[in-house]
Symmetry: C2
Subunit: 133 residues, 2 copies
């Protein structure tokens, strides 16, 4: 299990699970059709109450990240079509602004920040290419 839960974090455990699964999907650790642990399995592995896992799975299903099939289990959903790029831009703006603010207060701006971001995007591309084949 790659999920790393910190019960002392101020981020709720169920949210950490949601974030963890979404992140794993973005990194291709999980791919569409992959089965993820059952509610009870994950609960016992992480020694967390099953209700908490169930809550995370319900959020993930609402977001279209997973699909649940009773008595069969829970699976990573097929990727959806996202034709509305303007919507994506709008929804990404707060997170980009957050980077700007965080970077500013760490003394990183302008060209330096640009370089860091470009490096990072390049790394992701590289990971992606390595997995694709």
């Amino acid at each position: 299990m790659h999920l790393n839960i910190d019960t002392r974090s101020s981020i709720p455990v169920y949210q950490q699970i949601v974030d963890g699964i979404k992140s794993a999907a973005a990194k291709r650790i999980y791919n569409p059709g992959d089965r993820i642990p059952t509610v009870r399995e994950m609960a016992s592995q992480l020694t967390i109450n099953p209700n908490t896992i169930a809550k995370a799975y319900q959020k993930l299903e609402q977001e279209g990240v997973i699909v649940t099939m009773r008595s069969r289990g829970t699976f990573i959903a097929e990727r959806q079509n996202h034709p509305d790029k303007q919507r994506a831009k709008k929804l990404l703006k707060p997170s980009l602004e957050h980077i700007r603010t965080e970077a500013f207060h760490l003394g990183m701006e302008g060209e330096e920040l640009k370089q860091l971001v470009l490096e990072t995007l390049e790394e992701w591309e590289k990971e992606w290419r390595d997995i694709e084949k």
Copy 2:
């Protein structure tokens, strides 16, 4: 007052204030030496308990964003030296990863994401140049 507080948000009010001040500093709405409202002023303007504002100011002082001077008021701190760029990179990583995950689930990846990020960085640079003079 440019701060927009949503008391129904899951983000605590004091945290919204912290984020708002930090964001305003990054955007040069506030600059080093600027005085910000007193605890009681801001509390009455936003109709929020003074204790909540005080908590936000204490967090901001801990982070070195503001400086408080008893009986004089609270001011935006001088910008600090941040020689350790590696530290900055390390601390920015989670936020960058968050963008990656969010973008992935909005159907935005690779070149498309790169373009959006570059556009955004360019906008910030432009804002910055407009203010500098």
